[in-house]
Symmetry: C2
Subunit: 372 residues, 2 copies
């Protein structure tokens, strides 16, 4: 039985690496026509590690321009000002943040602050009349996510979550394979992501409950959760979860070092995951009635390697951040609503699951997830 | 950093399949000298599916001969008698089983009956003065395993469990990579095994609690449990577990269809597993401080494919059953104790974990495993 059409893949023989395809098989929504010759002016709020990752995204984006920064560190302000030839009026501190409302040359604020500040600054950006991208995890609770969505709606601005894998062609292919049941219904998904954090300075914000909201589940596990959701095209109904042992007690005083969980979906599919700060793991596997499909590596920045029970599959590497910025930029420039997969509600859906995972791990009991 | 020596593997370039090695890197214990020109005479008790798998093992074994059968089905008795030129006196029914004690031409009884009959027939075989191999799972409880071990000890016979993967060279290599910390300490293991049982006749004994003792955990999950144990070289100290949804309610009335579990080991390593009867899954992955190693396929009859974070690895296919029969045969012929990895206590150690998994799933609580 041939599940794949020739159009959708090129089978490779005798090699662990598939041939490159020219386009993802599960196409993104078509873009609206954006205003010609116009880029969205973005102020980056929080110039930490991820802001540096985004530099390449801005460099390759056709629809977003890095037009300003918000930072509490004068040296960073000076460096970014020089690198991006920013006018002084587009450089803000956290004290002057709310004056963004008087700056017509900033259209959107992209919040890459520590997680614990996402909610406050998203709402303040909206109140300043700016569109918002907030990094994942969107916030710490569903209630917080709802407040952020409501604030943006009231302010008449759009809210996006900085999800990058929705724009990655291997992941578009996972969505197609799962949602279109190319190998029959998916029964079991294993998705895990972790990095070794031994050697991290103990004052890193990722280790602080108030700033991070949690350990690797908040930072990495969110990708495992969403991969199960978008491959199945379903929302989970129940969850069990377990904290793992603490092997680096000097670092993990406030947040979990290891956590495993199991999601049950309405179709009966199960998604089981681990996320950890004590080793590297990065894999996705889906078992379906008539075969399997997997990525390994799977959830990091790539490059990814795909395989099904029939053949390897491989797509060109894309700049995940540039693709995301372009999709958001085009929609906002065209004054059309953002696609569901990138809008605030998508962040809330992930947070519904993450809240359930923590509750299940805290109580040791199976948690039935509340309706959306 | 090179973890592998040139002696222990041949790196392959640009291919998902490694070159064949001539010998497993983590060698089996050296064999004692067996009596020359002598084979152990084995009676196979229970001529179901696995008895047929064992035919090839006997055909290739140098130290065991299929010398008799025990069956309740006259047609099977006639067929096996013809195929193996068995004398009538070596053919038993369950009614005549205990008369084995009067037959000096049978040295050992290999019990491939449904799980629920393992304990009774292992003890009766011992009482008939015969050495015993019992298929996995050894029994349903640690207490049962202990009774079997004690009965064999009192009768002065040896007791083996039919573990095949301990003789498979990829698995010997997993043991080496894990126990010798070739990539540093192992932190996280994912090991899962499942087969799609839709279409199975509802009266299959694997679906009956009294005969199977449980669902796929008893039949398949035991391989996941033992892979974690022998790769880490540790015994788990605690377990959490969850039943998955029942998607085939006509079949799974008495035993679980899906179960997931998480084992915690003294070193802080975690082993997370799924076993299922609603899809095919067969994979092992170990994340260590300085790399990973994996098999996929991993736990079935092979052929297996190995990979580390450095390279693919591959060994010749061996007949797992023949290798096991030979090891047991040589030791018994030489009147030396069976190696730990195949003796009754090994089955008890797996059952200690499996009992804990069921208790954790039944209660929804974390179970601290009792000392051995």
């Amino acid at each position: 039985m041939t599940h794949y059409s020739r159009r959708s893949f090129i089978q490779t023989v005798g090699s662990g690496v598939g041939a490159a395809l020219t386009a993802p098989a599960f196409a993104l929504p078509t873009y609206p026509d954006a205003e010609p010759n116009r880029k969205l002016n973005v102020a980056l709020c929080g110039l930490g590690r991820y802001a540096n990752v985004l530099k390449k995204g801005f460099a390759e984006s056709q629809y977003c321009r890095l037009a300003g920064v918000v930072t509490g560190t004068p040296a960073k302000a000076a460096q970014w000002k020089q690198d991006y030839k920013l006018p002084d009026k587009n450089i803000y501190s956290y004290q002057t943040f709310d004056q963004l409302k008087n700056n017509p040359d900033i259209d959107l604020v992209y919040i890459t602050l520590p997680n614990g500040l996402h909610k406050e600054y998203a709402i303040r950006a909206a109140q300043a009349g700016k569109h918002v991208i907030v990094e994942k995890p969107m916030a710490f609770t569903v209630r917080d996510c709802r407040e952020m969505i409501d604030a943006c709606q009231q302010a008449g601005v759009q809210l996006a979550v900085g999800y990058r894998l929705h724009y990655e062609p291997h992941h578009r292919e996972l969505m197609r394979l799962g949602q279109q049941k190319v190998f029959g219904p998916v029964r079991l998904i294993e998705a895990s992501l972790g990095y070794q954090l031994a050697g991290t300075p103990p004052d890193d914000w990722h280790l602080k409950k108030a700033l991070a909201g949690g350990g690797p589940l908040m930072n990495l596990g969110v990708y495992c959760v969403q991969s199960g959701r978008y491959v199945l095209g379903e929302e989970p109904i129940a969850v069990t979860a377990q904290y793992g042992p603490v092997t680096l007690p000097d670092l993990f005083r406030e947040v979990e070092e290891n956590i495993t969980w199991q999601l049950t979906f309405p179709s009966g599919a199960v998604c089981t995951s681990a996320t950890t700060s004590n080793c590297t793991i990065d894999r996705f596997y889906a078992a379906a009635d008539e075969g399997y499909f997997e990525l390994n590596p799977a959830l990091s920045y790539g490059p990814f390697k795909g395989r099904t029970s029939q053949a390897a599959f491989n797509f060109p590497v894309v700049n995940q951040q540039a693709a995301m910025l372009d999709d958001i930029g085009k929609h906002i420039l065209a004054k059309t609503p953002l696609p569901d997969h990138i809008a605030g509600l998508e962040g809330l859906k992930d947070m519904r699951v993450i809240e359930g995972i923590y509750r299940a791990a805290d109580t040791g009991s199976r948690v039935t997830l509340p309706p959306l």
